[in-house]
């Protein structure tokens, strides 16, 4: 069995349907009688809605309904909410601006939903949407995060200074004291560039109210269908939870953007009832995705690192402004706080850390979790700051890290920023990465590049992340409105086949394969006999979904627990069939055996007995189906070292990544091929952030990077062949599998490696994205290159 069990490079079950165009996405679904929704959106970043006149839109052919914010209010639908309460340092709760499903009184960003038009066909809805008369009184907009605090413009009239919260973490006094006696202080300012998530499949939804049953079904692009069901029922109030089914079929990528509860999906569900129960479909156009999917990152930070004379870190002080956009998205509050500041220790034993985060509203698209969510921001600033400290102290960037790593024997390690790291061996991973990258051989390669007129640089990044979110009591004490356990049901059929129902959702991660390997391994059944079912609230047990690299560490462990219950029950049945004592039954490789004998029953025989209980233990329930919930005792802490090597063309500023080595500690690995694929994808996104991607608004709040002609996504030719090693694991403690999570690592660790490599080549740190123009300008200013001339 081991050949397709834990640790095997099993090709993905889902690939056949995906690469032959047989996936089944929300937009592929067409329900009988379906109508189409088109949203009318604000063309202004900030304006008062003076008047909406529906008459001409309603008179257009095929129009079934035109609904706006007043209709939402009349039906008393709730506002969209942020599910994590963050408190300011003075104890006051964050200030959440009202976020109605359709705008009321004001619009607050270009793309804000003003109304929906529902018509017989998509084109009729488009035509009618153009005819809707909306009169605006334009208001000045606040766009620049750095200026949000003293702007005379208020995004939400009732929220002074546009400040949502002013939050802190860490021991400020201890940090101040350490700075006072520091030998050296390294200081820098960082912009963490705003990104558009750009899932391959745009968001889509079909809402359907069935008048016969007074029940609702919402097909949609979701990473967490049960969370959508919960919020739409408990907060928006469209349908009671038991009368609402949310189905997320194949979903083409999310990167966080499909976690959130947006207005559009709620509106089509509500609109279906408004038109008498015909299904209502909406599929985002790509240009709509750019202005409605929650953006990522967008921080402005000042950071200072205090060091002693030997280069040991004494303290870290970080002041960050985080952009929330116009409204709080579902998890937006916790991203720049609990998923950010808590990671600022990195892989180092820095004894004192203090972080202050002020989150501001601006007239831009809401910002929330995007692959890595908070951790890329933390890792980027720490790893580029550490590099800068090494340069200022004339140390090798490798040596300064060696000096400060948390040693292998210090685990479990309590950081000064709340987290307790369970395991890790940072120095070993680090040396392995440097060995593979031939760090010591770099000077020769640099000299060779120089001969060809190129500037070569090498950059290191030692990232850490917290995955497997999360112990419910811990996140509850920090303000989370939900528990973050996970669920699984393992069900045998008469014929010994297995259905695994999981509360997580796969949208590119390959759960259908990984989870099947897990069950094949635990229950000793063929991999091919295991089918993974997910994404339907009427089928699977209640689950919290997929994000934060949690699915295997939390959801996988729930599957393990369900398998253990199956085995426990199977032992009772086997003992009865084998006329032995239950205590003497051993289970291994799919067989229940009486210890010390060759008398055994296969799991198939036992399962059959459970469904055809003619000869069966008295009092035992028939059937073989077990459910388990798992609430992890801690996060997991993947970590790794990335080494990036670049060649810069001094004529144009172009950066060519010539080599990229990634050594990751993901603990144990179920499918190395899938894990490597996840690392590749993450690295490409991290490189995209470092070199290519970046949202630009003009001063009036118009998005300038609203299409792929202007927003640059990485292509295959922009990245090198990655050298990825994932076998250096220290098993995680929080789950029996010892797995840590791998989905975000690449996006977290790559940006600093790239930017450090460019700095190594040209002597100046370039803000992200390090476009050729920025690099070229930096080269003109570089003291290092001037000195070399």
């Amino acid at each position: 069995m081991a050949e397709k069990g834990i640790g095997a490079r099993v090709p993905r079950k889902e690939d056949l349907r995906f690469i032959t165009g047989r996936g089944h996405y929300t937009d592929d679904i067409n329900l009988p009688g379906q109508a189409y929704a088109v949203f009318v959106r604000s063309p202004h970043a900030h304006a008062r809605i003076k008047r909406i006149d529906k008459a001409s839109a309603l008179s257009m052919p095929g129009v079934l309904a035109v609904l706006d914010g007043q209709d939402v209010a009349a039906d008393k639908l709730g506002n969209l909410v942020c599910g994590w309460l963050v408190k300011s340092k003075d104890g006051s709760p964050m200030k959440m601006g009202k976020h109605p499903l359709l705008a009321q009184e004001k619009v607050r960003y270009v793309g804000d939903r003003v109304a929906v038009v529902v018509a017989e066909t998509y084109h009729q809805a488009k035509d009618a949407a153009e005819k809707l008369v909306v009169e605006y009184e334009e208001l000045p907009a606040v766009v620049d995060l750095a200026k949000a605090h003293d702007s005379s413009v208020l995004v939400h009239d009732e929220i002074p200074n546009n400040l949502c919260y002013d939050w802190e973490l860490g021991d400020k006094a201890a940090v101040d004291a350490a700075f006072a006696k520091a030998h050296h202080v390294t200081r820098a300012e960082f912009v963490n560039n705003r990104l558009v998530p750009n899932a391959l499949e745009p968001r889509a939804a079909i809402g359907h109210w069935d008048p016969g049953q007074d029940a609702y079904t919402l097909h949609m692009t979701s990473q967490n269908p049960h969370v959508h069901r919960l919020v739409i029922s408990a907060f928006i109030g469209i349908a009671p939870e038991h009368k609402l089914r949310v189905v997320a079929p194949d979903v083409g990528g999310g990167f966080g953007s499909k976690i959130f509860i947006y207005g559009e999906e709620c509106v089509v569900l509500w609109a279906s009832k408004k038109i008498g129960g015909r299904p209502v479909k909406w599929t985002a156009e790509r240009s709509e995705s750019f202005i409605t999917d929650a953006h990522g990152r967008d921080h402005v930070t000042t950071a200072e690192l205090a060091l002693d004379a030997e280069g040991r870190f004494l303290a870290l002080r970080v002041n960050t402004k985080a952009n929330l956009g116009a409204y709080m998205s579902t998890f937006s509050s916790c991203i720049p706080t609990y998923l950010y500041a808590t990671l600022l220790a990195g892989q180092y034993k820095t004894p004192a850390i203090y972080c202050n985060v002020r989150a501001y509203y601006t007239n831009t698209v809401p910002v929330d979790a995007y692959r890595g969510a908070g951790r890329p921001e933390a890792s980027f600033l720490l790893e580029t700051l550490v590099d800068q400290a090494a340069i200022e102290m004339r140390m090798d960037p490798a040596d300064i890290r060696r000096k400060n790593f948390i040693p292998k024997d210090a685990f479990p390690y309590q950081t000064p920023v709340a987290l307790v790291y369970d395991t890790g061996d940072y120095a070993t991973v680090f040396e392995e990465a440097l060995r593979i990258a031939d760090y010591n051989g770099f000077p020769a390669r640099r000299a060779e590049s120089e001969k060809r007129g190129k500037l070569r640089g090498i950059g290191l990044s030692c990232y850490i992340e917290a995955c497997g979110i999360a112990p419910s009591a811990v996140v509850g004490s920090l303000g989370a409105g939900v528990g973050l356990w996970e669920s699984a049901k393992v069900r045998f059929t008469h014929t010994g086949k297995v259905q695994v129902l999981t509360g997580t959702h796969t949208h590119g991660q390959g759960h259908e394969t990984t989870f099947a390997q897990l069950v094949a391994d635990k229950l000793g059944v063929p991999f091919e006999d295991v089918e993974v079912i997910h994404g339907d609230t009427d089928k699977t047990p209640v689950g919290m979904g997929t994000y934060g690299s949690r699915s295997l560490a939390v959801g996988g462990e729930a599957i393990v627990k369900a398998c253990e219950k199956i085995i426990a029950k199977g032992k009772k049945i086997a003992a009865h069939l084998l006329e032995a004592s239950e205590a003497d039954i051993e289970f291994k490789d799919g067989k229940f055996t009486v210890a010390g004998t060759d008398r055994s029953k296969t799991i198939g025989e036992v399962v059959f007995a459970a469904y055809v209980p003619h000869n069966y233990p008295a009092g035992l329930e028939p059937g073989m189906e077990e459910t388990a919930f798992f609430d992890p005792p801690n996060f997991t802490f993947p970590a790794g070292t990335y080494v990036c090597e670049v060649e810069v063309d001094p004529q144009t500023g172009e950066v060519d990544i010539v080599r990229f080595v990634a050594v990751d500690d993901f603990g144990n690995v179920v499918n190395p091929m899938i894990v490597e694929g996840q690392v590749h994808g993450g690295l490409v996104q991290g490189i995209g952030q470092a070199l290519l991607e970046g949202v630009r608004y003009d001063d009036s709040g118009q998005l300038l990077t609203g299409s792929y002609m202007d927003y640059c996504m990485p292509r295959a030719s922009d990245v090198p062949f990655f050298e990825v090693v994932t076998s250096r694991g220290t098993p995680a403690v929080a789950n029996s599998l010892g797995v840590k999570g791998c989905g975000e690592a690449g996006a977290i660790g790559a940006p600093a490696a790239v930017i450090n490599a460019i700095r190594n080549a040209i002597g100046v740190r370039v803000e992200m994205p390090a476009t050729p123009e920025r690099v070229w300008r930096a080269i003109q200013q570089s003291p290092m290159l001037k000195a070399a001339e």
């Binding site: 084109h123 488009k126 240009s287 004529q651 630009r696 002609m709 996504m713 922009d718 050729p772 123009e773």
Partner: protein
């Protein structure tokens, strides 16, 4: 897309007649620019006249030592044509560098120059080689007169580009600094040594393709990279946008001119 009438003529005469009798009609070549324009509802034509079935608008042949390329010839056909590679290899290389394979398989020479996008590649070759644009009205428009401004040409509203004639240069090459997102030119420079002298055409840098006369004069003196070093490119009338500021574009004009010169030999 708004609704429109759709015509698919098979002869040039028929297409010209349709265009003349439908003042609000537009031509469709490979649709690489026009289909997105329609989908975004930025255009509302009464009719669309698809040139895709007109055989006489397609093809590459040798003429007077140079090349004549039909307006409906796809970028990919030019890029892979042995004839183009033999007679004017710089043209094949330029076509090979346009956009991505999908764009090259649909986009056309006629569509590119009729559209005259300030960042398009072909206008640089047409101007750099001193080509002649032939039209349905029997006109032969010199490149120097054809590109009149941003997205503007000397074509009349009911005039169709039928072909472009490229004289064979002594040597020529094109170097482009692509926009990493769209792959259009942030700056593209076509350098040619022709029977009538040195011609240097710059695309991407300004609102319309133009001849860099200062570089031409310098190269006329001495055909060398050092000549280009001595030239100053004035950024005043160059584009500044989120992708590149004018001074950077001015710098790139020289860098690309030198690269083109090196490639031309």
């Amino acid at each position: 897309m708004y609704a429109f009438e759709y015509f698919r003529p098979t002869t040039l005469a028929e297409a010209a007649q349709l265009l003349a009798s439908n003042p609000e009609a537009k031509l469709l070549a490979g649709g690489q620019t026009y289909i997105p324009t329609l989908k975004q509802r930025l255009a509302k034509p009464s009719a669309v006249i698809d040139l895709g079935r007109i055989a006489e608008l397609r093809g590459i042949h040798e003429e007077a030592g140079g090349l004549t390329i039909g307006a409906m010839t796809r970028h990919a056909e030019v890029a892979s044509s042995p004839l183009v590679k033999r007679v004017i290899p710089a043209l094949a290389a330029l076509a090979e560098g346009i956009g991505d394979p999908q764009v090259r398989n649909r986009g056309t020479l006629g569509g590119s120059i009729a559209n005259n996008d300030p960042a398009a590649d072909y206008p640089a070759a047409v101007l750099g080689l001193g080509a002649t644009v032939r039209t349905s009205k029997g006109r032969a428009i010199a490149a120097d007169d054809f590109f009149t401004g941003m997205f503007e040409t000397a074509l009349e509203p009911d005039e169709i580009v039928t072909a472009v004639h490229f004289p064979k240069p002594e040597k020529a090459a094109y170097a482009k600094f692509p926009n990493p997102a769209s792959r259009y030119a942030i700056v593209g420079v076509f350098v040619a040594k022709t029977a009538s002298g040195v011609r240097v055409a710059v695309t991407g840098a300004a609102p319309c393709v133009f001849r860099a006369t200062a570089i031409e004069q310098a190269l006329e003196q001495v055909w060398s990279e050092a000549s280009i070093d001595g030239v100053t490119i004035d950024p005043t009338n160059l584009n500044s946008d989120i992708h590149a500021q004018a001074d950077y574009r001015a710098h790139l004009v020289k860098v690309m001119a030198k690269r083109a010169l090196r490639a031309a030999g």
